[in-house]
Symmetry: C2
Subunit: 915 residues, 2 copies
């Protein structure tokens, strides 16, 4: 028996099926599947992918028997469609498309209307009485065939029609008359001949043979080869060629074309949704020249077709068990389905459809969970711009924190707070933000920065606040002095209105109208399904009772990271902090001097000075104690019954000092010292690379009293709240650990203080002490570190910075280029770099559990809310992820998907290994 | 048979030996060994370490039979010494000392002169006629016994003698008369009684028993326990107790005491060397009240003793096969050796002695190599201060680069160069140095900085230049404006003379005289022995032909790191560099704009602008090309036949721009642009963490032309020198790689340029392309990186910074505290952190060779010249280490020692595993 190379579909039966994807390609298999389902698909045939290989083996010749087989299938097609290739009265026109087993850019585009020639055009004119239409599709076919099949660039044809339009004094193609188009057809033929060197082929078979060869040729186009290399697509046979009869919705008033969805893609409502146009082509629906008619109207115009269509919609949705997006054409009262595919939908619709289909028992819990893109959820939680509103985009930056913000521009935090107090809505614009700007950021509707990436200070804080932020808009020329910013030729001054889209990164002039989010009841149901499936916990990064409550509402199961430094800035506290910093220095100096001398008198003298400075230092710290205790009480209350991980002070001390001269003078006046002393302290604390400087637990090595104060505040607050009957689960986290000895020293200080509090209060409470793993050395020596740490929390922001050697504040200058050139697929501050940083994380967990097998492990970097990173955290066996409040639902969904995805692939692997 | 607990030594025979260290402790075993060798050691006995355990098991009671055995040994001792415990005429006095198998602080100090009481003192006075001496040793004994044995603090006694001296109107103890001392003795007894609650025991046996118990008790002193914990000393039985007869060199004119060396410890000459005092105690020799007499004079005074001593010296040196440092006492014409140990020696002596002993066949090659401390060698290569000179030390910093420098203080690089040109010797003093200071550093005798650690810019460059540098002198208050620095109350102004000791870190006022180094012929011989043994290569870090030649003289086998950035600063080149940087910006901007648009007109316009800016950018680069080519030619010539690893540009571009306003204005004028443009560029290039910023290969990703220019310069130079008949082995090193894709992109650029040069010159040469491994991610993914890299060079400076999260420019503020608290044993920038960073290095090598098994691996961080790090590099299988020229001999020696040390321990491990 001869080898079968061509597979027919049509008339309710197909030789192929959905299972034959490898041989028929994705498109061919789908067309066969629909045909077998009884869907009225225009008939056609598919040349198998294996033929592509034969074609290459034979150096561009058709294998013996192929021509015969193709011709036999054309005959079948002619019969099925009641038409004939090249026939004047009943011409058969076809489309030719490529289609491999895997969707792949770089391969040949569609050739439509193949089979047209002068004779056929004449027949069409006679049949439709529409010469304009006939010449238009003819000239388009010549263009397409010339461009896609014969390599005569589209631009050449475009020039000709441009000239024709100028000559005719019209603007649009569709304003050209039939005669004018007829002339264009002749010009196109001439252009074709000039570039191809031959006459345009009138013979339909020649047209088809060239087109099939072009499809085969496109399999090895440089772009397709590159794509397969990059995506490591191997073992494919080649591309299939799909030849399918053309149908027309614009042949008369018994014709039409439209698009329909089996459910409403905007809201998720279960209803027949879509729109159509009578006597029109598919592109007319899209082009918007005529206003399409709602699908339901079709029931009035062509009730039989409508009935047939809706019953097909129901059948196809059931078959594919997902909302379908279909294209249909009615040719002379006969309905054809041209395409069906899973429809795109809004976040709200995705959730509703998943929950509804589950209710309808159409899909399982697992399928429902996989039906929503985690990143989509974000849109449900923030206000968004009215999609219908006009946008005057002036610049684009990084979508650092989602949401929509509209406000008047201010350039400093102070003005932001002032204007907010005056009832104004403001957008805070800074070159970059620093902890000093917190108040202003809080006061603003949104934050816009010229520098910094997805994990810059502005981005991290904004996400924590659930506040819209666009960061790293390189094009912004900000001038603080003039209170202006420039983008290209546009100047925006203080007080001007702008709008920020934190989801797209767009910055717009003026006030773009917004719509508030509505969390449907389905959202809650959907999240519950996720929670049932997921195995990894989801906590939040929250620094305030407000954030804690919001996160808890979003489903957070505790706090994974409560930063304490923000608390140091609020209100009057900063003054106590600054007082402490001024005293910190001599304190350390004296200890050194004390260690150096053996003279008893000197010792006594230093000791007395030391006591005085120490008193001052600890006095300032003691002023902070009640504030901190209050902070923790509020958070413990909000998180009653759930664990709260508190990170002790992390940033270098210089972050708490003012850096401009005016503020330094103010500080000096307020603390009653000379300005020079403040300046000197700022200079003394200056660091070349603060990211790698004197911060985190290193502060506790030189100034033990700071962490002691914080430990005391935590435990005093915990005892108090616990006494009120609420369960408190404090987890004290020591940051920036690099060695177990370092952890032991700091932990011992903290425990000593806690024991003192227990003794004073004659009361105890359970607590844990653990560490952040953010310095590579801590991950490398995690087996040692775990002997002292009761839990690990991977601080993947800093871990990424140190492992990859990127400063997140500076990397914006080159990271874009890195992603563009494919060195890193995504910004490693957005999605965890699993190959590099992930290796350290895995090693850290494995080593840590080798010496403490019940070690609790979490992640508290920004990656904790990013879906691919959550998947990774699940796979490496973390106990929980922690992320900003607004990302909690995303993480819950991503965690559930991780279970489904990996359990599946686990099963697959298991099956494979059984073979 | 009863268990033997006490081991006697004396009269030429000992019951123990050197082999019984575990049972007798180190000291006891040594005393036994010397006795067995026939060395006239004062007799005595050792209570075994096992007894200490029995003592604890019995809760502080002596095991049955011990008292009897000790008494028996005392009788033996009395017989051997011809004296008797407590006897008036011939009293036996003993010392009691602890001594475990491992030397250990925290255990009991010596008790001397035990056996003294009122009767014995009287006898001594009668015998010596020296009442002052008798009462002095008596009161010292009461003090020592009270303090060390009975816990009555030394301070109590000190107060009494202080009062006595005041009363007598004298300053020193030795000015008190016999009667006054006698009164002190009575007071001491009263103090003893007051604090101990009992009379001072007159009975020698009671004294002894208490002392033995005190030794046992000190085994479990908190400090001793802590020491064993920290050093993981386990399995020891306890401490031994050594009881030994006292001998006196101050009993009359037939007595004396001295110190001798079997060779000259200063020069290494083979001669009897030492000094002594007649009728004196050991401490008198040290105290310097009387001037000691050269040892050879003893031949005149007591020829018999001299002859006996010198023959003992010869014997002991032969026995211990090393130069001995001995203490001797002559008591009434009888010579006693109190101690012999391996003598300390200068670097020059160490080398000479090792070479001489090898010649004498006293030791093997391996032993000779182990006899010199690598760090010592440094002193042989630099001038040093005359050890006899007076030093007026005003401050102390880090010994950043060894040597001795004397010069007049200047505070800026420009003045340094000016004054040097005027023939002055200058010391460049800076808060910290930056690449702009290179010229001034080169002009200076030495460099002094207030900030920065052992691997700060100043330190690294100074070591590279072989120039003395003291860094990080925190106490310095430098005022650039006034051209002054302050230390405590001292003010040093520009032009004042100071002296720097780069080996000790001392800064001295005025001009301290220096002596030039003399490399003896033995040095060369010694190094040859090292080279024969070592397995790992030693290259140098050198950036100039001069450094290259010097390093080659010191034995470097190639260049492991040639930094190219210093070349960018010299002379006029900096102007071309700055021109390039000004053009760099638009260049990148335009590429972005080009990518963003599809409008043909815009594209054409941008392309034309782009071409013009690109021309400017590459024009500036082309100005640099001949300079770079010349640099490489010089280096290739100097290193003919040896490999030269050239690192392409590493620092961020902002390092090449001036940072003060005046220089910015100058730059603007010279490059004919507005000052604002320069300022804006500086602002734009500013980085928060430059260490993790836009540098290294990241420059090549955004500005490919820079590395292309460098690759061209390297290959053009190589072809030229190679044509002249000299062998050139260029190895091009790409810095800061974090991913294999990044390396591939940059490598492809470089190769393309090299191929272009080959084509132009119609000539080829072999070359290699490799990478630095300095970003943790590169080590973690070394298997991938090695598929593109032909060699790895570990940049452990940056690798340490990133792995430990320390900025080397800032860590000075807390790293001292870290080392002090034992978190890290040494500064990790001085000695490689083997537990953390080393793990990454090991992993990098293992992974790298897993995909490229002939991968050449080296190290080019500062650690390459540090002995413990060289040992590590040997153990992990590197092919070579690379270090600054002056460290090359150190690395050669350390590499040889690594072979000997690890081959030994390897053998041991093998033996163990056989068991």
């Amino acid at each position: 028996m001869a080898k079968k190379r061509v597979y027919f579909f049509g008339g309710g039966k197909a030789e192929g099926s959905a299972k034959m994807k490898e041989l028929l390609g994705g498109k061919g298999a789908n067309l066969a599947e629909m045909t077998n389902l009884g869907v009225p698909v225009p008939a056609g045939f598919t040349i198998a992918t294996s033929v592509c290989g034969e074609y290459y083996d034979a150096k561009g010749k058709w294998p013996k028997g192929l021509e015969e087989e193709v011709k036999k299938n054309i005959a079948k097609l002619e019969k099925a469609m009641g038409a004939k290739f090249g026939d004047h009265d009943k011409p058969l026109l076809v489309s030719v498309r490529s289609g491999a087993a895997v969707s792949m850019p770089g391969m040949m585009d569609t050739v439509l209307n193949l089979g047209l020639n002068d004779t056929v055009v004449d027949g069409i004119i006679q049949k439709t009485g529409n010469a304009r239409f006939a010449y238009d599709i003819y000239r388009r076919f010549i263009d397409m065939f010339g461009d896609v099949v014969m390599g005569c660039h589209h631009e050449n044809f475009e020039e000709a029609i441009h000239t024709a339009k100028e000559k005719a004094g019209v603007k649009n193609d569709n304003e050209l008359s039939a005669d004018q188009l007829k002339a264009v057809v002749e010009q196109y033929k001439a252009i074709y001949k000039k570039h191809v060197g031959k006459n345009f082929p009138e013979d339909a078979w020649t047209q088809l043979k060239h087109s099939i060869n072009a499809v085969f040729g496109s399999w090895n186009s440089p772009r397709a080869i590159k794509y397969r290399q990059l995506n490591e697509i191997k073992g494919l046979l080649g591309t299939a060629v799909n030849v399918q009869a053309m149908v027309f919705g614009n042949m008369g008033e018994d014709c039409g074309t439209g698009v329909c969805f089996t459910r409403n893609p905007s809201t998720g409502e279960k209803e027949f949704y879509g729109e159509f146009l009578m006597n029109a082509q598919g592109e007319d629906v899209v082009a918007g020249i005529r206003t399409p008619i709602p699908l339901k109207e079709l029931n009035k115009v062509m009730p039989k077709c409508y009935k047939q269509l809706t019953s097909l919609m129901i059948r196809l949705e059931k078959h594919y068990t997902d909302m379908q997006d279909m294209e249909f054409t009615i040719q002379q009262s006969k309905l054809y389905i041209l395409q069906t595919r899973t429809g795109k939908r809004t976040a709200a619709a995705a959730v509703k459809i998943a929950v509804d289909m589950l209710k309808e028992k159409l899909i399982t819990n697992e399928k429902a969970v996989m039906r929503v893109e985690p990143a989509q959820l974000d849109r449900l939680l923030h206000p968004s711009f009215d999609p219908k509103a006009q946008r005057d985009v002036m610049a684009k930056g990084l979508p650092a924190s989602p949401g929509a913000a509209v406000g008047q521009v201010v350039f400093d935090a102070e003005t932001a707070e002032q204007w907010r107090d005056e009832g104004k809505k403001v957008i805070l614009v800074r070159i970059e933000t620093s902890p000093e700007d917190i108040g202003g950021m809080d006061a603003a509707q949104g934050i816009l920065t010229a520098r910094g990436g997805m994990t810059s200070h502005a981005a991290v804080v904004a996400r924590g606040m659930g506040k819209c932020c666009v960061a790293g808009v390189d094009d912004l020329g900000i001038n603080y002095k003039n209170k202006q910013m420039k983008v290209a030729n546009l100047t925006i001054s203080e007080g001007d209105w702008i709008s920020l889209d934190g989801t797209s990164g767009e910055v717009m002039k003026g006030q773009v109208p917004t719509v508030e989010p509505k969390l449907a009841g389905d959202f809650g149901k959907f999240m519950m399904i996720c929670d049932k499936i997921r195995k990894i916990g989801v906590r939040t990064n929250a620094d305030t009772p407000g954030d804690s409550r919001r996160a808890r509402d979003f489903g957070a199961e505790g706090i994974g990271l409560c930063r304490t430094e923000h608390m140091f800035f609020e209100g009057d506290r900063i003054w106590a902090v600054r007082e402490m910093i001024l005293a910190s220095d001599d304190y350390a100096d004296m200890l050194d001097k004390l260690a150096a001398t053996e003279n008893q008198n000197t010792i006594k003298q230093i000791e007395s000075e030391y006591t005085s400075v120490k008193t001052q230092f600890e006095g300032a710290l003691n002023k902070l104690l009640p504030y901190q205790r209050d902070d923790f009480e509020g958070i413990f209350k909000a998180m009653a019954g759930l664990p709260v991980t508190i990170r002790l002070l992390d940033p270098p001390l210089h972050e708490f000092l003012p850096h401009d001269e005016k503020s330094q003078a103010e500080m000096a006046a307020r603390l009653n010292v000379e300005t020079k002393i403040v300046k000197d302290k700022v200079d003394q604390l200056h660091e070349f690379n603060p990211m790698l400087g004197h911060r985190g637990c290193r502060l506790a090595i030189t100034y033990p009293a700071i962490y002691r104060m914080q430990a005391r505040a935590i435990i005093e607050a915990a005892l108090k709240i616990s006494k009120s009957g609420k369960k408190v689960l404090p987890e004290i986290m020591i940051p920036l650990i690099g060695s177990v000895k370092e952890l032991k020293i700091v932990k011992d200080q903290v425990i000593e203080e806690i024991k003192a509090v227990f003794a004073e209060k004659k009361s105890k409470i359970k607590y844990m002490i653990g560490t952040m793993i953010e310095v590579p050395r801590a991950a490398l020596t995690a087996d040692e570190v775990a002997t002292e740490a009761e839990f690990f929390s991977f601080g993947t922001n800093d871990l990424t910075q140190m492992t990859m050697g990127f400063s997140r504040d500076d990397a914006g200058k080159f990271l874009g280029e890195y992603v563009k050139q494919g060195i890193y697929e995504v910004d490693p501050f957005q999605a965890l770099d699993q190959d590099g940083v992930g290796k350290l994380v895995e090693m850290g967990i494995r080593l840590g559990r080798s010496t403490r097998n019940n070690l609790k492990v979490g992640i508290c970097g920004e990656h904790g809310g990013e879906p691919s990173s959550v998947d990774f955290c699940h796979c490496v066996g973390m106990n929980y992820v922690s992320c900003s409040p607004f990302r909690v639902p995303i993480a819950r969904l991503a965690a559930a998907q991780a279970v489904i995805r990996n359990d599946r692939s686990e099963k697959k692997t298991r099956q494979k290994s059984k073979k």
